[in-house]
């Protein structure tokens, strides 16, 4: 498995508990598969640092297509 940031490692380690909390149990919700997918999604998320920097900007306002 690729190296991740501590935050990412924590998220991946907590996949089993997260699935259980959502009631997503059973063979269709294999934590190992979900964790591998999540790792890819988090890597994609990290690529956005180039646009917005690190960190959580908080919930978005309603998108306005007339941004100018």
């Amino acid at each position: 498995m690729a190296e991740h940031s501590p935050d990412t490692d924590e998220l991946l380690a907590g996949v089993h508990e997260r699935l259980a909390a959502l009631g997503l149990n059973g063979p269709l919700f294999d934590p190992a598969v979900v964790a591998a997918d999540l790792a890819e999604r988090l890597e994609l998320d990290r690529s956005l640092d180039a646009l917005i920097g690190p960190g959580d900007p908080g919930p978005p306002p309603l998108f306005d297509p007339a941004l100018r």
Binding site: L11, V15, R18, L19, L22, G23, L24, G26, L28, F29, V34, D37, L38, R41, L42, L44, D45, S47, L48, A50, L51, I52, G55, D56, P57, G58, P59, P60, F63, P65, A66, L67, R68
Partner: protein
């Protein structure tokens, strides 16, 4: 006679044809093509004929509701139509007929349109295959999605217009692969109430049409009169400035698509426009933004179904919903923030270069065989779930209007297409540029259609 709105509309008013004859021809052809192409999932002949008879009676009484009076229109099966169930391509949905129309359907009816039926959608409007629909140019290939049935219905001229939705390209993808025009309007311009959502921040409703004019007349009805794109449609684009997007997510392309883009650039130049390539580096991150938003919002919408009936969800969609369920909220927040950065970057580039519209390939490739998950593009293999979205998602993320126009064929006779995008709110400019381009590059699509489905075949006989 062509089967466009303009020609049907003229023929209806001259008495050359009746709405009932159009409806009867539609019903006969839909039944004949159902097993092979499956553009519709539900058609109610009694309702279709009753609406057509009403349209004829009104015309005979001097009541004329406008261009769509008596014209059959397909409606994607995620949009509520009174008297039909909204199945969304999913067993999760109720089989009972809904009791009210979505606002867009109400507006179509008020404009005199005849609702022809519900068109095939990819499950939950979340994919680019739209089984069991098939591509009319080669039925072994996909029609695209998620509004695949609408693409097939228009490409075969069963109807001149069909409604689709576009969250990551789902109007423009089937339009490009089926050789029709498709218009994704400005975000928020067309109301989405009464429509099954996928990702509320990215969902758009709009028309697919045989021609750009078909889409324009439909848009003006769908917006409830908030737009008047028809009146300036033929104004031309002399002196306009066009920016070409051919890098970042718009590369690589299959050779035939690259040739179609070059043909379109030459045509726009011939029309008097100034055309220049532009680069917007922020678009390199468009898929991270698109999927960052979709997975979070789709997972929230389908949370109960994922927990209670997961085995009734397609595995690929289920994987996306699970991914969105365990992704932290911060990731969705970040995707939204990055969306604004991308939208502003496109605006800034258009300002910097004084651009009126943008030109880009609609898709990097032509329709894939049904069983293929990947396709060769340039020197590499790409998953079609990504290749079909990387060129369309930029305008979902930015919210800008974008019109896909056919512009040629590949060596296998499959359509290729380009898209023209304008600033948010300037749908009329995108349509006007598309209309001008269509004159020069889409003649064969507009008139001939796929083999066996000529768009000038007779209507008056059943």
């Amino acid at each position: 006679m062509m089967r466009t709105v303009a020609e049907l509309s003229t023929a209806l008013r001259s008495g050359e044809i009746t709405a009932r004859a159009i409806a009867e021809r539609f019903l006969a052809e839909e039944a004949a093509n159902r097993d092979l192409l499956h553009p519709f999932v539900a058609v109610d002949p009694e309702r279709v004929l009753a609406a057509a008879d009403t349209a004829d009676r009104e015309l005979s009484e001097g009541i004329d509701r406008g261009h769509l009076h008596g014209i059959p229109v397909g409606v994607k099966d995620i949009i509520d139509v009174e008297g039909y169930a909204t199945r969304g391509g999913s067993p999760l949905t109720a089989a009972d007929a809904v009791g009210a129309d979505a606002t867009v359907v109400s507006r179509l009816r008020a404009a005199g349109a005849v609702i022809a039926g519900k068109t095939t959608t990819h499950e939950l409007a979340c994919g680019v295959v739209s089984a069991p629909a098939s591509n009319p140019w080669d039925p072994t290939r996909v029609p695209g999605g998620s509004s695949g049935g609408s693409g097939v219905a228009v490409a075969t001229a069963l109807v001149p217009i069909a409604l689709g939705s576009d969250t990551g390209g789902s109007i423009r993808i089937p339009a490009a692969l089926c050789g029709t025009v498709g218009h994704k309007p400005t975000y928020g311009l067309v109301p989405v109430d009464g429509v099954m959502a996928l990702s509320v921040s990215l969902d758009h409703l709009g028309p697919l049409g045989i021609t750009v004019a078909d889409c324009a007349v439909a848009l003006d009805v769908l917006t409830g009169g908030a737009t008047d794109t028809m009146s300036g449609l033929d104004g031309g684009i002399a002196q306009w400035r066009v920016g070409v997007l051919d890098s970042g997510p718009f590369a690589p392309l299959q050779d035939a698509v690259a040739a179609g883009l070059e043909r379109s650039i030459a045509a726009l130049t011939d029309l008097g426009a100034s055309v220049e390539p532009i680069v917007i580096d922020e678009l390199d991150h468009v898929l991270a933004v698109e999927f960052g938003i979709i997975v979070g919002e789709a997972a929230a919408l389908h949370r109960d179904a994922l927990r209670d009936r997961p085995d009734e969800i397609d595995p690929a969609i289920r994987g996306l919903l699970i991914g969105g369920s365990v992704l932290p909220d911060s990731a969705t927040n970040r995707a939204h923030a990055a969306r604004t950065v991308i939208a502003r970057a496109i605006e800034a580039a258009m300002d910097r270069h004084h651009l009126d519209v943008l030109l880009a390939p609609t898709l990097p490739a032509t329709a894939a065989p049904k069983d293929d998950f990947e396709q060769v593009i340039g020197a590499g293999l790409e998953h079609i779930g990504m290749s079909n979205v990387r060129t369309t998602a930029p305008f979902n993320v930015s919210g800008q209007p974008a019109v896909s126009v056919p512009c040629g064929f590949d060596a296998d006779g499959l359509p290729v297409a380009v898209q023209l995008a304008a600033r948010s709110g300037a749908d009329a400019m995108a349509l006007r540029a598309a209309y001008a381009l269509e004159r020069l590059v889409a003649h064969d699509h507009n008139t001939m259609g796929p083999a066996g489905y000529r768009r000038d075949r007779p209507i008056g006989e059943t």
